[in-house]
Structures are given as C-alpha cells and as structure tokens.
C-alpha cells in the first residue's frame, strides 16, 4: 500500500506526461513545443525519483533538461523567425501519423492488457542505490560492471565534440 502522497504525485506526473506529450506534438509554435518537451522531461525525472533512482533523475534534469534543451532553444532561435507558426498540417499527413501512432498504441496497449501479468506487480520497497554503488558498477570490470560501455561512451562523446565542431565551423 503506497502512501497517499505518492499516489497523488503519480497521478500528477502521469497526467502531466500525457498532456505535455500531446501538446508537444500538436502545438504549432516550435518554441512552445520545446518548452512542453522540457516539462515532459521534468515529469520523467520525477518518475525516476519515485523509483528511488536519484542519480538518474539528477542526470535527467542536468543533461536533458539542462543541456539538450538549451541546445534546442539555441537551434530554434537560430533558424526560426520570431512568432512564426508552423504551417497547418495537410490532412493526409495527419491521418498517416494518427494511424501509425494509434495503431502502435492500440497494439501495445492490447498486448499489455492481455498478456503482461507481471505488469500487475507492485513496487518492492527499500532498494539501496547509493552513489557509491553506482560509481563502483560504472568502473568495475566484474560481472555487471560497466567500465567498457563507460569508456566507449567517453570516446563517443569525444567524437561527437569533434564532429560538432567540424560541422558547425564556418568555412
């Protein structure tokens, strides 16, 4: 049995995610779209906190909401004229999108409702995800150690930095 606060928080978060996701893809102002995305990302971060993954939540806020969103906002500012609306959608395009999205949601939802008995599980309490543990896993070479992906990611980021510089450099 969850605490009432948790349940209320969950509903707020769930409604926020659904609403802002819909708004993100339906609004015709691109900057608003980015803003709604930011809210979705925050809501996601709250889910992570609820799951007791504080570190992940922090990363989500710092990297996603803090880093990526800033990039988006800069890109939008650089490429869009202020106050410019996106063109209204052609109806066949909307139908295409709707059919794919609704079809996917319907199929996955049906699958979830019909087959996923595990989805009825409740949260087991008291997991212990300390920073120390995360650090050890990240730099460990044992089973469940993540040193190799960690290093790979670091190389990827380096490549990405270089790529970004090369691409964006004014010739």
């Amino acid at each position: 049995m969850e605490s009432l606060g948790n349940i209320i928080l969950y509903f707020i978060v769930a409604i926020a995610i659904i609403a802002f996701s819909l708004l993100t893809v339906t609004t015709r102002k691109i900057l608003r779209s980015a803003t709604y995305l930011l809210f979705v990302l925050f809501a996601t971060a709250i889910i992570y906190f609820q799951m007791d993954y504080q570190f992940l939540g922090a990363v989500q806020i710092a990297v996603y909401a803090g880093g990526i969103m800033v990039l988006f906002v800069f890109a939008i500012m650089l490429t869009q004229k202020p106050g410019q609306d996106a063109d209204a959608l052609a109806s066949h395009r909307r139908w295409l999108g709707l059919s794919a999205a609704l079809g996917g949601v319907a199929l996955c939802g049906y699958g979830l409702f019909s087959y996923a008995g595990f989805a009825r599980r409740v949260l087991s309490s008291d997991v212990d995800v300390t920073m120390e543990k995360i650090g050890q896993f990240l730099l460990s070479t044992d089973k469940f150690g993540y040193l190799l992906p960690f290093e790979a990611i670091s190389v990827l980021l380096l490549a990405c930095i270089i790529g970004g510089v090369v691409i964006a450099r004014r010739r």
Binding site: L96, A100, G103, L107
Partner: protein, 665 residues
C-alpha cells in the same frame, strides 16, 4: 650462304611490319617508304642467296643419288594436341619453296619500289596512310613467305588466313570509298568460305593420317616427293569411305576448294575482279603474282597425294579447264583494264591448275616421251613466269591509270606517243603472256600444252584454244590502250607521260626478267620428286602454240589496231553473247540471287523475325514488366525519412500483430 638464312628471309618482313606499323606513324611518309624498300631489298638479296645456294650450291646434302632433297631448316613445335599430333611452325626449303621465295621477294621488291611513286600525287607528295600501306605490304610479304616455307599443312592454313587478312586490309586501303569496302568484304567472305572447306579437309586428313607434316604425308625418308610415302599415308585411313568416295578423296577435294577460293577458280572467282578496287601495286603483288597462286602451290605441295587420288585430280582438271576458258571469254570484252587483267589472271592460274591435273592419269604419272610429272614442272614454271609478266602488266596498268586517272580504256587510246617506255614494257608483257618466243610465257605455256596433249587430244586442243584467246584479249587491251585512235589531250600541262623513275625502273626490270625467265632450266631444278626431268622442245606442239598465238594477235590487230567499226559490228551480230560476256556471264547476279533471294529471304529473314519477335519479345516482356512495376512503386523510394519511418512502423506493427495472432491460436 647457309640455308638457315631462309628464317631471316621470312621473319624480316614481319619485323618490318611491326616497325613500320608501330613506329612509322611517328616518321615522315617518304622515309617510311624508303625504309620499307631497303628492307625488302635486303630480303630479296637474302632470298636469292638462299635459292642459289639451294639449287646450285654444294654441300648440306641437297642432292643425294640425283634426287634434290627438301631441307628442313627449323621446325619448332607450336601447338601440341597429342604426342603424335603436333602443329609445328617451321621453315622448309625445297624446289618450289625456293622458287616461291624468289618470286615473292622479287615482285614484292618491285611493288615496294613502284609504290613510292604510285602512292604519291604528281608533285611527289605521299598519300595519307602511306605508312599503313607499307606496313600492310610487309605483313603480306611475311604471310606469303611463311606460307611457302611451311613444313606442315596446318602452318599453310594459318598463313593462308594471314594472306587473306592482308589482302583484305590492302583491298580496303581506301577505306573511305564504299566500293573498296564492298570489295574487301566480298574477297574476305568468299575466301573464308573456301577456307572453311580447307579446314575441313585438313581435319579429315589429319584425323586419319595422324599427322600434319609434309614429311610424313608426301616426302618420306628421301625428303623428296614420293608416291610410296603418299601411298602409305593413304593406307593409314584403312580404306574408309564416305558417300562412296574414300575419305582421302573428300579431304583432298576440300583442300582443293580452299585453294580454289584463294586462286579464284570458278565458281569462287567472283571476288578477284572486285579486288581491283585496291591500289594497283597491290593488285600486282597480291592479286596477280603471289597470293592467287597459293591454291596452285597448295595442290603442288600435296601433289603425290593428288596423283594417287584420281577423283580429286579430275575435279581439279575439270574446274581448271573450264575456268581457263570462262575467264578468257570474259576478258575479251571487259572495258576496265584492271578487270580485264584480273580475268586474264584467273585464266592463267587455271592454266597452272590444269597443268597440275593433267600430269597424272589412273593413279600414275603420265610418261610418254618426256618423263614423269611434266605437268607439275610446267605448272611451276608458268607460275614463275606468269608472276613476272603479270606483275609487269599490272604495274604498267598502274602507270597508265596514274597518268590518265581512269580505269576505262575509252579514256586511254593512243597513249603510245605519250608513254613510250610503258608501252614497250606492256608490249613485252603481252608477248610473254601470248606465248611468243623467246619471251618467258612461250616456254612455260608450251610445256603446259605438251602436258595437256599427253593427257588427251581433247584437253590439248581446249587449252590451245584458250591460249589463242589469251593472245587475242591481251592484244585487244594493248591496242585499245596505246593505239586505236589519237589521244585527246584536254590540258597540255597534264598530258599523260611516263611516270617517275621509281615507277619505270620496276617496269624495266620486270620486262627484262620476262624476256629471259624462259631460259631458266626449270626441268632440272623444279620437279615433283627432285629428279631432273629430261625434256626437249616438242616442235609440233611449240609450233602450233606459236601459230595459235599469232592467230590471236593477228585477229586483235585487224580488229583493234586502228579505229574501225569491225568490233562494234561483231558485238552487234553476237549481242547476246557479247553482253553475257561483258556482264561476266551473270555470275555476280547469280550469287546475288542465291544469297539475297534464296538465303536471305528464305532462311535469314524468318530466323531474324523469330529472333526479333519471339526471343527478343520474351526478354522485352520481362524488361517492360519490370519497368512498369518499378514505375508503379518508385514513389516508395521517395527519400522522405518520415515515409520510411511510417513504413517501418507499419511493418513492425504487422509483424507484432501476426505474432499475437499466432500466439492466440
């Protein structure tokens, strides 16, 4: 001088071909020509050295027990099919090979020299393609030399093809004129058709005898023509027959057809008159003196085999005798001097063929009072003398054509005053071919007639008649060119005159040879079995042959010496015959009819229709279907990433749905 120099004689023109063909373009035209002439001069000197050493030198064991032996100078293996069936590329010197070396190099040298003048305009500037011309001449010379020194029949075939190729290239030298293109295609196709039979003959012969080598086919251990060797070669077939004739007869007949194609025997002669589209020196070298006698040479090379297979020999006899008359009849009416000379060539080659064929009867050589194989000797003798005087006649014709810019004799007339040297040389050529003593043709033609009379009176009379016609048509040409009526000079500056020394010197040399060539002791030197032949001039035959020649000349003199209406009247009185002869008895039309109407319309067109509509149609259907389907679905490949995502998602969803359905049921 060692006989192995024959290798150099053969290879030097090949080197010159490569040199002139590859490097010549970078050099000046004249220089290329001079180099070609000098190389040919060296080659000629070497060839004379080889021939003199072979015939008159001592040592190297050429004459053993009075038999002149063939010498194999080199004989490396070229293709090994089996242990016993090996194709070799060698150099063999025997009487006819040595003689041919002399003939080919002499005429080739004359033509090389002559072409320096002929292939230039009147200001002495060489024509375009001069280097190519000399390279091809060298290639031809190499091919022809390789043919005559061949040690085996397959080598002969290879070089047969190569002379065909060089003939093709040289006939089509003026490749921008359609007539030359048609002519060289015609020559190539007709001779290729004949060569197909040649190849068949070689295959049959080598399949049964297990060898290509002349040594085992005709020479035997004594290295000279030997009936015993030929007999043993034939006996290896075990008397196998096909359609009632022995396989050897088939093989030899096929081989003769190959030779008949190159030697322009009826009915495969149609390419030779058209081949006159090539430059005239080329006609002199290839289509008068050397290549066209390749067929005669081929039969002579296999002579012992032919002697023993009388069926094949009879084919040669009939074809040769008919062709001699047929071509002579046509030559009497032609107005184009080169064509008239071409038919004369056909007739004379037929003389040689007939001469070979009459030397045997019922599987043995005729011996009455002259000895064995007179016809063989006479044929080779005539080959030699004919090469000289026919080259002379052609080169004279070339000089005339170069002077008046036309092949038609109604543009000539009365040139004697303008071109005296040419006129005298031409006259010598005519006398030689007509058989007036002491010119070369008399001796050789006389021997042929003797041989023919030995075979039978009918053959002898027939050949005498052709000899008479020969004298008539040659003097007809001579008078029409140099006399008949006064030449009309339109432009004083361009009046016809004797050509520069490069062109007249070869004429004079060849005329001189034509005067003396008859005194070469051929019966001692060139016989089929290497033994000297004891002949004496048969004055009955000689007298009659001179008489018929004089008859022909006299007739021509009456009709054509001065302008008179007699020829016209005679032509009118025999209009049908005259037209038929002028149109070459409609042989070309017949070929046209057979190839176009019968083969093309009847066979090729339906096959082409089938190919175009059924075979192609099927593949076109495939292609069109693919094409239209692709057009229909090409919008899928729009380049729009969103469309791709959409398709991908739909596909993934479908897969998931199918999986679910499968799990449910």
């Amino acid at each position: 001088m060692p006989l192995s120099l024959a290798i150099i004689v053969v290879v030097l023109p090949l080197v010159m071909f490569l040199f002139l063909g590859l490097v010549g373009v970078k050099m000046g035209r004249k220089i290329t020509g001079v180099i070609g002439v000098l190389a040919m001069l060296v080659d000629t000197i070497l060839a004379y050295g080889v021939a003199l050493t072979y015939f008159f030198g001592s040592g190297e064991g050429q004459i053993v027990d009075g038999v002149r032996q063939a010498v194999v100078v080199a004989n490396p293996a070229w293709l090994s099919f089996t242990d016993t069936l090996v194709v070799r590329m060698g150099v063999l010197v025997d009487p006819i090979a040595a003689m041919m070396l002399v003939v080919i190099t002499t005429v080739s040298l004359m033509v090389h020299l002559y072409s320096l003048g002929y292939m230039s305009d009147h200001d002495g500037n060489a024509e375009k393609g001069f280097q190519r011309y000399y390279a091809f001449l060298a290639l031809f010379t190499f091919s022809m030399l390789g043919l005559v020194v061949a040690t085996n029949i397959f080598q002969i075939f290879v070089f047969f093809e190569m002379v065909g190729l060089s003939s093709y290239l040289l006939i089509g030298f003026y490749y921008s004129t359609p007539a030359a293109n048609h002519a060289n295609k015609k020559a190539f196709i007709v001779t290729r058709l004949a060569d197909l039979f040649f190849l068949l003959g070689i295959m049959i012969l080598s399949f049964y005898t297990k060898t290509f080598d002349f040594e085992q086919l005709v020479f035997g251990p004594t290295m000279s023509g030997s009936l015993e060797t030929a007999q043993s070669a034939i006996s290896t077939t075990g008397g196998a027959t096909f359609l009632g004739c022995s396989v050897v007869a088939w093989a030899l007949t096929f081989i003769f057809i190959g030779g008949a194609g190159k030697s322009a025997m009826y009915p495969l002669h149609i390419w030779l008159p058209d081949a006159m589209e090539g430059p005239t020196p080329v006609s002199a070298l290839i289509h008068a003196a050397t290549m066209v006698v390749a067929g005669v040479f081929l039969v002579a090379r296999l002579f012992p085999l032919y002697v023993l297979v009388q069926g094949a020999m009879n084919v040669i006899l009939v074809v040769g005798a008919f062709t001699a008359f047929y071509a002579a009849a046509i030559a009497c009416t032609q107005s184009d001097i080169k064509r008239a000379l071409a038919f004369s060539t056909i007739s004379q080659i037929a003389f040689m063929m007939t001469s070979l064929a009459v030397s045997s009867n019922n599987n043995s050589l005729i011996e009455i009072h002259h000895g064995y194989g007179l016809g063989y000797m006479a044929s080779m003798f005539h080959l030699f003398t004919h090469a000289m005087f026919k080259a002379l006649l052609f080169l004279c014709a070339g000089a005339i054509i170069h002077a008046v810019h036309s092949n038609e004799n109604d543009k000539m007339h009365g040139l004697h005053k303008f071109m005296p040297i040419t006129s005298i040389c031409f006259l010598i050529g005519c006398l030689a071919i007509a058989g007036i003593p002491p010119f070369a043709g008399f001796f050789s033609k006389d021997e042929i007639l003797v041989a023919a009379y030995q075979r039978g009176l009918g053959w002898g009379l027939w050949m005498s008649m052709v000899a008479c016609m020969t004298a008539f048509y040659m003097f007809r040409i001579y008078y029409l060119i140099f006399f008949w009526k006064k030449h009309e000079v339109h432009d004083e500056h361009h009046a016809p005159k004797d050509q520069p020394w490069t062109m007249t010197v070869p004429l004079i040399i060849l005329a001189a040879i034509s005067c003396v060539a008859g005194f070469v002791p051929f019966h001692d030197l060139v016989t089929w079995d290497g033994k000297a032949l004891h002949t004496a001039l048969d004055w009955t035959v000689a007298g009659s042959s001179v008489a018929v020649a004089l008859l022909g000349i006299g007739l021509a003199t009456i009709m054509y010496r001065k302008e008179n209406p007699l020829p016209e009247r005679m032509a009118n009185s025999m209009r049908g015959l005259w037209t038929a002869s002028y149109k070459r008895f409609y042989m070309d039309e017949l070929y046209q009819f057979i190839t176009h109407k019968v083969i093309f319309q009847g066979i090729c067109v339906p096959i082409a229709w089938f190919d175009r509509h059924i075979i192609d149609g099927f593949f076109n259907l495939l292609a069109n279907t693919t094409n239209s389907v692709s057009y229909g679905i090409r919008r899928m490949q729009s380049g729009s990433i969103q469309a791709y995502v959409y398709f991908y998602l739909i596909g993934a969803l479908l897969l998931a749905a199918i999986t679910m359905v499968c799990v449910l049921f």
